[in-house]
Symmetry: C2
Subunit: 334 residues, 2 copies
């Protein structure tokens, strides 16, 4: 059985290009003891992937040159030599950017397709949802009545952050690019306000939308937007550093937040998060979020692109701000 694969061919300088990838179709291989073979159906495309393409120490090992690109994915078990997994099971795992994966079962878990469409397990019911849940609640520590601002607000993490903050009784303002996204935040997700960074002055927008200042800022983008929000924070504000997508393709140094001394003036805090630290508590979080979804308080949106051949271009949509909702790659099988 053939697997279509995207390998990391070289490390990018700045934006990833076609030259950094190698496409191949190879035999998926035999299923050894303890392994499963998975028909990959949806592949998660995430900003963090850009970091994994770099060499050097981070919160996770870099992908090695010549390896299948790392990615979370969902699919169906085709063969199993592993305890606890049967043919036909729907599973989530780090299956990589390939159409068929043969792998051990570390980090693989079953998902229930009767509860939600499979691709949702890559979004609100997957790592982005968990990132939003734990990052906001454990590090952002929002209190009812406070103002929460989130950037990348129409993205996989940001949209969930804003909705959870609403559930917790906060005033919620999203920063997103384009009128459609901003309208969606307000009309569909119930945000109190939105700032369109592509078409308006972010500082003015924040001043208008956050008349009482910013108590919690959940940052997915870094760069100028982080710097601008720093000028609007309140005493003892909490800034959650989840990502910095505006900086991931820099060929020069990352832009540090020039206004970081606002932390001093406001006795405020900036703290980084990595979702994996909460792995022991994913179950509880998933249960609570499933409840909110059932009650209609938490909505999901996926941006599905077909097929695996488009991977290099589709990944770039993240960095251009072209995805609307959680970006996933759908893999067609004959």
């Amino acid at each position: 059985m053939k697997s279509k694969q995207w390998l990391l061919a070289s490390r990018p300088q700045g934006e990833p290009t076609e030259a950094n990838w190698q496409y191949q179709e190879v035999d998926a291989g035999d299923v050894a003891q303890g392994q499963i073979k998975v028909k990959v159906q949806y592949i998660s495309l995430d900003p963090a992937m850009r970091g994994w393409m770099n060499d050097g120490k981070s919160y996770i090992e870099p992908v090695q040159i010549g390896d299948v690109m790392r990615a979370g994915a969902v699919g169906e078990v085709l063969e199993s030599n592993a305890e606890g997994f049967s043919v036909g099971d729907k599973v989530y795992g780090s299956f990589g950017v390939q159409s068929v994966a043969v792998c051990d079962t570390k980090g693989v878990h079953k998902v229930d397709p009767s509860l939600a469409p499979l691709e949702r397990y890559l979004g609100v019911l997957g790592m982005p949802g968990m990132t939003a849940y734990f990052g906001l609640l454990k590090t952002g520590l929002p209190e009812a009545g406070e103002t929460v601002v989130v950037s990348g607000a129409a993205g996989a993490v940001g949209s969930v952050v804003g909705q959870i903050a609403k559930i917790k009784g906060c005033r919620v303002v999203g920063i997103a690019g384009g009128k459609d996204k901003c309208q969606y935040l307000i009309d569909e997700l119930g945000f109190d306000g939105a700032v369109d960074y592509k078409n308006e002055d972010v500082r003015k927008g924040l001043k208008t939308q956050c008349p009482d200042g910013v108590d919690v800022y959940f940052d997915n983008v870094g760069g100028e937007i982080l710097d601008t929000v720093l000028t609007c924070i309140n005493l003892r504000a909490r800034i959650v550093i989840c990502g910095a997508i505006s900086q991931y393709n820099n060929t020069t140094a990352v832009k540090g937040p020039s206004n970081y001394l606002s932390l001093l003036v406001n006795r405020a805090r900036m703290e980084g998060i990595v979702v994996f630290d909460n792995a022991k508590h994913y179950g509880e979080a998933a249960q609570e979020m499933a409840g909110w979804i059932a009650q209609g308080k938490l909505k999901a949106k996926e941006h599905v692109v077909t097929d695996i051949e488009t991977f290099p271009d589709t990944l770039m949509m993240l960095f251009k701000g072209e995805n609307f909702g959680k970006l996933v790659l759908k893999v067609e099988h004959d």
Copy 2:
């Protein structure tokens, strides 16, 4: 009775110059009901004064053009029309850069000259000591066995931070400018190591002196040094933002920490502090620190410059890293 005064004449662009100050000798004025007249003996010179010279919102109002420059100071009560204060009392207050102050008693408190030389109440027993105590213990949260790094380590705040961290059982490394200061940190204050930022590569120095990485960083300087320490922090490190003296005279934007995404990778925290928030607990802190001083565990060093006429030049010593210990201006009286 004449008072020698330094007024803020204009707001500096970059480094303060003589043109930003106006010297005058004026009658100190009458002591109204509720007021005291104080013979100012030692004036505290602090990096924060640079910020007070700027217009704009901060944690405290800016000094207005034409006003006596704000400064903490200690002196002796010459006349009192205020309850609780008698002629001859030694007092601390925000008396400003002047030789005789007539003021109300808000924020004024008596100090005991039999316990310590008067100038010490501007250093280890004053705001710098309190800043170190609360900033390190409440925000840095050092645990025995952890590595604590402090910049401006031979300064008023840094020297106390390092000594308290030693008392708490930490490995302590100071960053300071010049061999004398570094030797002093190790020989006199008991630091485990020192990095001389004027004569060695800070990153290499930290790698050598902090073989187990950095758990707590107490930052008084900002700029390149903050950025470098960010590359050496451990998981869940705490960075206390106390000041950024390297940036206070910038005419361009403050240099933000380019390596702030190390907070994400390491799930670390950066938090600002302002000492005044702890005013209710100064008493307890002073008591504990007095105990450490009595036991010889906490040493003080003041850098005393005479006389008030030298104020503009003496203040600049802070920004050139020329002070060795707490910088105070001694006021001579006939």
